[in-house]
Structure formats: structure tokens, C-alpha cells
């Protein structure tokens, strides 16, 4: 009985943290899945997530400056300004990538890596220089007011003990991530638009011949994917990090999000669970007792990557037809080269 109770207590403390870790990954992987389904391997996702985060921070920072000047808090604006800024920032990144790879047919790996360099630099630069550039007098970027609004839990979460803690203790962006993932999965698998999208990713020449506007699908999918991924950055800074931006804190989550896409065989509905699993693996080292051998913790931090590798190897060995990447992934499409 005692063991069961302590296991329960462990889950109640562990699961919500795993979910909170998993949500940015879920946003990233859902966005990347949409992009990859259109045949674009966007390695710029880590950069886009930084830009999504910092754009929201810039918007919120400027708004909070006005609040400090004595303006009353407007609940609608304090949510919408960072949200819209974040979406616009990641849309801009998506447009750069789309223009380079779709219109100009550039190599997707190189364009994506450049976007990541640029995006992480953009995030760290404004994160480190925003205070100086705006000439304000705060010691660090701590958007506590905005964060309070972003991290509001469901109202009855505290009344329902463990159930409330595990299922209801998250903010609206977390639920939005799960809804977006399920809707995306439905659209991709069950609708005409999804069918066309998959056709564009599998074989753009055939899709073109069938009258599907290939370029438009690729553009919309890539930009939409970027915007969704950018929300992951916003969630991370506003909710998980309580509105405190610190440089490089977001770390390598963007790359893990890309790995999740393969892990979940391009299915955002599976990604809901897989991202929570990854989120759990990401923080599991905090829960494994190591005693005095602190170095072991560093080895446990390998877990998410090693698990990804194992899954990658197994899925490539099994070669199930429905688990393969889109046929046209990574190849630029040029009508006259058919």
C-alpha cells in the first residue's frame, strides 16, 4: 500500500512537469510535421522557436513598459499582443525559408541550418540587448504580469486533487497545443486538403499534373508550420519559464522536436503522447537517485537522444510502408525538370 501511494505521489508530481516539458516539443513537432508533409525538411525549427519566443517577449516587454507607466492591465491585450507578435515573428521566419527553398529552390538543409543560426542569434541578441536598446531601467527581462495571464490554470484545477493536478493544471497554450495536434492529424489524414498536401509531399510532379497548386501548398504549409512551432517558444518563455527570458535557456528542444516527427512517424496525434514521454525523459534525471555520484546525472540526460536513436534504427530496419518519410522530402520542385 505504501509503495503504491508513493508511486501515486511520484506520478502526481512527475506527470505535470513532463507535460510542461513536452508542450514546446509538441508545438515544434506538429509544425514540422505539417511542413514535412509538404515535402520541406525545415531544419530551421530550432531558430524559429527562438524567434517565436523572443517576438512574444518583445511585444510583452513593450506593453509592460506602458503598464509601468501607469496604464491599467487589459486582459485581452496582454494575451493578444505577445501572441500576435510571436505569430508574426515566426511567420517572417517561415517566409524567409519558403522563399529560399520554394521560390528559389535552395538546398533545404543549408537554408534550414542558416535559419537556425539566424533565429538563435536573433533570440539571444534581443534577449540580451532589449533592455539596453529600449533604454529602460529594469535589471532583467521578467514579464511577471504577462506570465500570470499566460499561465492561468483551469479554474477548478485545485479542487480536484490528483485528477486536477494531472489533467487540469495547465495553461490555455498547453491545451491549445493538444487541440492543434489532433486537428492537424485529422486534417492530414481525413480531409481533401490533407490528401492534396500529402500528394504534394510525396510526389509534387504528380500533384501538379492533377491540378494541385504545389507552390501554394508548400508555402502555406511551411508558414503555418513555422507559426505553430513558434508558439512552442512562446509557451516556454511565458508559462514554463514564468516570463523570464534567459539566453540559450530554450536549448536543444527544437532539435528534439524534429526528432519527434520521425519518432511519431509523421502523426501529430501520436506526438501528443510522444512529446509527453520525451518531456518525461528530459527531466527524468532529476528523479533518478545518484547519491554522491553527480556525474551520472549527465549520463541520464542522454536518455531522450538515445531513445530517439533506437527508434530511428528500429523503424528504418522494419521499413513499414506507412512509416516512411514523404517521398519528396528535401527535394526542391521545379516544374520544368520533370
Amino acid at each position: 500500500m505504501g509503495a503504491l501511494a508513493s508511486l501515486g505521489a511520484f506520478l502526481v508530481s512527475f506527470l505535470p512537469r513532463a507535460v510542461a516539458q513536452g508542450i514546446p516539443l509538441l508545438y515544434g513537432s506538429t509544425g514540422e510535421t505539417i511542413t514535412e508533409k509538404a515535402g520541406n525538411l525545415n531544419l530551421g525549427i530550432p531558430g524559429i522557436m527562438y524567434v517565436g519566443g523572443i517576438s512574444g517577449v518583445i511585444g510583452a516587454f513593450l506593453y509592460e513598459q506602458r503598464l509601468n507607466a501607469g496604464a491599467p492591465v487589459n486582459a485581452f491585450l496582454i494575451i493578444m499582443i505577445p501572441l500576435v507578435c510571436s505569430l508574426l515573428g515566426s511567420l517572417m521566419m517561415g517566409l524567409i525559408y519558403s522563399f529560399l527553398t520554394i521560390s528559389l529552390r535552395a538546398n533545404q538543409n543549408v537554408a534550414g541550418l542558416s535559419l537556425t543560426t539566424f533565429g538563435i542569434g536573433f533570440g539571444n541578441f534581443f534577449g540580451g540587448s532589449l533592455i539596453k536598446l529600449t533604454g529602460s531601467e529594469v535589471p532583467s527581462i521578467a514579464l511577471t504580469t504577462t506570465s500570470q495571464y499566460f499561465s492561468k490554470k483551469l479554474p477548478f484545477a485545485d479542487n480536484l486533487s490528483w485528477f486536477g493536478k494531472i489533467f487540469l493544471s495547465y495553461s490555455f497554450l498547453a491545451y491549445a497545443a493538444i487541440i492543434i495536434a489532433f486537428v492537424t492529424a485529422y486534417v492530414i489524414r481525413r480531409t481533401r486538403i490533407g490528401l492534396n498536401l500529402r500528394a504534394v509531399g510525396e510526389n509534387p510532379a504528380t500533384a501538379d499534373a492533377a491540378g494541385i497548386p504545389v507552390g501554394r501548398y508548400k508555402y502555406v504549409a511551411t508558414c503555418l508550420g513555422s507559426m505553430i512551432a513558434g508558439l512552442g517558444g512562446l509557451y516556454y518563455v511565458m508559462d514554463y519559464a514564468c516570463g523570464v527570458w534567459s539566453n540559450d535557456a530554450f536549448g536543444d528542444r527544437g532539435w528534439l522536436a524534429i526528432a519527434l516527427v520521425i519518432f511519431t512517424v509523421w502523426r501529430p496525434d501520436l506526438s501528443v503522447f510522444a512529446s509527453i514521454l520525451f518531456g518525461g525523459l528530459y527531466i527524468l534525471y532529476l528523479y533518478i537517485p545518484t547519491g554522491t555520484r553527480l556525474a551520472l546525472k549527465e549520463l541520464y540526460k542522454m536518455l531522450p537522444y538515445v531513445v530517439t536513436l533506437v527508434v530511428l534504427i528500429i523503424s528504418s530496419m522494419k521499413k513499414k510502408r506507412e512509416n516512411q518519410p514523404p517521398e519528396g522530402l528535401g527535394i526542391p520542385y521545379f516544374r520544368e525538370e520533370r
Binding site: L41, L43, I96, F99, L100, L104, R105, A106, N107, N109, V110, A111, L113, S114, L115, T116, T117, F118, G119, I120, G121, F122, G123, N124, F125, F126, G127, G128, S129, K132, L133, N247, D252, W255, I258, A259, I262, L294, A295, L296, E298, L299, K301, M302, Y305, V306, T308, L309, L312, I313, S316, M317, K319, P325, F334, E336, E337
Partner: protein, 365 residues
């Protein structure tokens, strides 16, 4: 009734071929546009005039003799990683695991210096060289093995190997930390200098630069004139053709990635034994990724990579000088580099394709 034909404003045609000087003209134009954009951004952020911006960048990278040698040393390391990833790219194997391969090379070097620190440098150096090469090659061969036999996605595999390597380094940093609880190894063999590269005529970076210069020449000839180089380009062009003419594709993939990883391992060796004399998780500083772009910008020509890695390092050093002058964040360099990369990537389009605009409205009849 005449059918209305909609003719687009322009259409795109693939160029048959372009003189090399016109191709490079387009690329240089793109770099100049990028410089102008970077100057504009810097002016907006700092209020310097655009000419002053480049004055500051120039001073930041060439200002003193010390800055010059640091610049050269950084170019050498980036060039080393760039030529390392090149053979794999020629084979269309997207090795984005340079970061991890550098790290294990650096870790192996540091391990030798720490565990065999009592040996004199003359005995220690060969062991370090072998260990770093072996570690890098191993880190390269693992993804290649799975790619060769099961077509496992190499981009993700090498990427994940980066983080495994990072954690491995983090683990050993704590195992070997000095003093206990410091979270860092500190300078290894500070008093004895065992395993440090010797200075040549008072210059401690010169040996790094010479090693990389030799490797650059080696990779150029390896790719251009050796049988292995030929096999790499056939496999890169078409795996089926390669199999048809009797090339063992699996063997070529694994051998090439072993070379690629080994060269990255050497970069790790240079960083530990020649430059930093310690190992940290951030010792490679993103060079594994930057090198991908350096190699690609140079069209996989090792000698052109000298120029492209110079361009990137020059901007980085200059931008970090500007950012420290104005109290801005050092990531400023990444923004400027990003703009340059975007412009050059875009310019490749104009090298490979041309736009043909709609002719003026024909006579109405």
C-alpha cells in the same frame, strides 16, 4: 472568339551553363548586398554610420597582432571542420554531426593528457593523435553503418549523436573536475605542459594553422585525384550507377564517414592540445553546423573554403567587437552571419536559373 491566354510576368528557365567568372560575379554581388544589409542593420541598432561599421569590424578582427592570430586560428579550426564534412556531402550524406565528432575527438585528447599526463610530450602526442582520430572516426562510422545497411536517416542520426557526445563530455568534465565541485576541468597539465602543442617561434597557434593547411591540400587531392574521391562522387551522383559499375556502396559510405569523423576528431585535437588546453561541452562552439554552410558556400571546393571560412570568422570577430563596444549581446554576430548566408543561398538561384520576362504586348490585330 479569341481565347484569352494568360502569360505570367516572367518564367524561370534552367541555365545550361554559366562561365565561372559570371557565376562568381553573382556570388560576390550577393555578398556585397549582404554587407550593405548588415551595415544598415548595424546602423539602425548602434547609430554608427555604415562606413564606421566596417571600420569597427575591421579593427575588431585585424586591430592588433594578437587579434590577427586569433582570427587566423579561428579560421583554421573552422576550415578544418569544413573540409572534414566535405567528403560526406559530396556523397550526399548529410553529416550534421560535426559538433559531436569534434567533441569526442577533444574528449579523447583530453583523456590522454589527463590519464597519461606523466609522459613527456614527445611520447604523449602520438597517442593523443591516434586517440582523437579513432574517436572521431568511430563517431562518424556509427551513423554511416546504419545508413549503409538500413538507410537510416543520417541527418537525425548524426544530430542525436551530437547530444550524446555533449553529455559524454559533461559526464567526464564532472569526473575529472579540478577542484571537486568546480564543474570544470581547468587548464590541463598547466605546470608541465605535457601534451601541449609546442609554439613555433613564439607563436602558439602556428602549428594549428600549418596542420590545417596540410589537411586542406590533402582533402583537395583526395577528392579530385584519388580512386576514393572518384567513388565518392559516383555514389553521390547515383547509388544505382555506383552499384552497377561495381562500387561497394556500403563500404564507400562507411569509409568516407570514417574519414569525415576522423578529420573532425583532429579539429578536436587542435582545439584541446593547440588552443584551449581544456575541454568543455561548448568547445566546438557550433562549428559543426557552421562548417556545413562554409562547405556548401564554397561549392565543396577545399580551397574556396579558405575564403568562405574567412568571411564567416571575419564577420563573427568583427561583430563581437562591435557588440562589446556598444554593450550589446555577442549573438549579434549570428544575425549578421545569417543575413550573409541568406543572400548567398539566394544567389545560387541566379547562378542556376534565369528569369525570362514577358515580352511587351504584341501588336493587336
Amino acid at each position: 472568339m479569341r481565347e484569352k491566354v494568360h502569360e505570367p510576368l516572367f518564367h524561370i528557365v534552367k541555365r545550361k551553363s554559366l562561365n565561372w567568372y559570371r557565376a562568381w560575379g553573382i556570388r560576390i554581388l550577393a555578398i556585397l548586398i549582404a554587407f550593405a544589409l548588415d551595415a544598415l542593420i548595424t546602423t539602425m541598432v548602434t547609430g554608427l554610420n555604415p562606413v564606421g561599421v566596417y571600420g569597427a569590424i575591421f579593427k575588431g578582427s585585424f586591430g592588433t597582432a594578437r587579434k590577427f592570430w586569433v582570427l587566423m586560428q579561428n579560421i583554421a579550426i573552422l576550415l578544418c571542420v569544413s573540409i572534414a564534412v566535405t567528403p560526406a556531402f559530396k556523397m550526399k550524406f548529410w553529416n550534421v554531426g560535426g559538433e559531436g565528432q569534434i567533441l569526442v575527438g577533444a574528449l579523447a585528447t583530453a583523456a590522454c593528457m589527463i590519464l597519461l599526463g606523466d609522459l613527456p610530450t614527445a611520447a604523449l602526442l602520438p597517442i593523443m593523435i591516434v586517440a582523437s582520430i579513432a574517436a572521431g572516426a568511430l563517431w562518424g562510422v556509427i551513423p554511416a553503418f546504419f545508413k549503409a545497411y538500413w538507410n537510416t536517416n543520417e541527418t537525425l542520426f548524426t544530430l542525436m549523436m551530437n547530444y550524446v557526445a555533449t553529455q559524454l563530455v559533461a559526464f567526464f568534465v564532472i569526473v575529472w573536475e579540478v577542484p571537486k565541485g568546480a564543474g570544470q576541468i581547468g587548464i590541463i597539465n598547466q605546470s608541465t605542459q605535457n601534451g601541449w602543442f609546442p609554439s613555433i617561434g613564439n607563436n602558439k597557434y602556428l602549428i594549428n594553422i600549418l596542420v590545417v593547411a596540410a589537411l586542406t591540400v590533402f582533402v583537395y587531392f583526395y577528392l579530385r585525384y584519388s580512386k576514393h574521391g572518384y567513388e565518392i562522387s559516383v555514389v553521390g551522383g547515383s547509388e544505382k550507377t555506383a552499384r552497377y559499375i561495381g562500387i561497394k556502396v556500403e563500404k564507400v559510405i562507411m569509409r568516407t564517414m570514417a574519414l569525415s569523423g576522423a578529420l573532425c576528431g583532429i579539429a578536436g585535437l587542435l582545439l584541446v592540445a593547440g588552443t584551449n588546453h581544456t575541454v568543455t561541452t561548448s568547445i566546438s562552439g557550433g562549428r559543426g553546423f557552421t562548417a556545413v554552410m562554409v562547405a556548401w558556400l564554397a561549392q565543396f571546393n577545399p580551397f574556396a573554403m579558405i575564403l568562405t571560412s574567412f568571411l564567416i570568422v571575419f564577420m563573427e570577430r568583427g561583430a563581437s567587437a562591435i557588440s562589446s563596444d556598444f554593450g550589446l549581446n555577442a549573438s549579434y554576430a549570428d544575425i549578421l552571419t545569417g543575413v550573409i548566408l541568406f543572400c548567398i543561398i539566394a544567389s545560387e538561384f541566379f547562378v542556376n536559373y534565369q528569369l525570362i520576362f514577358r515580352k511587351k504586348e504584341r501588336k493587336e490585330d
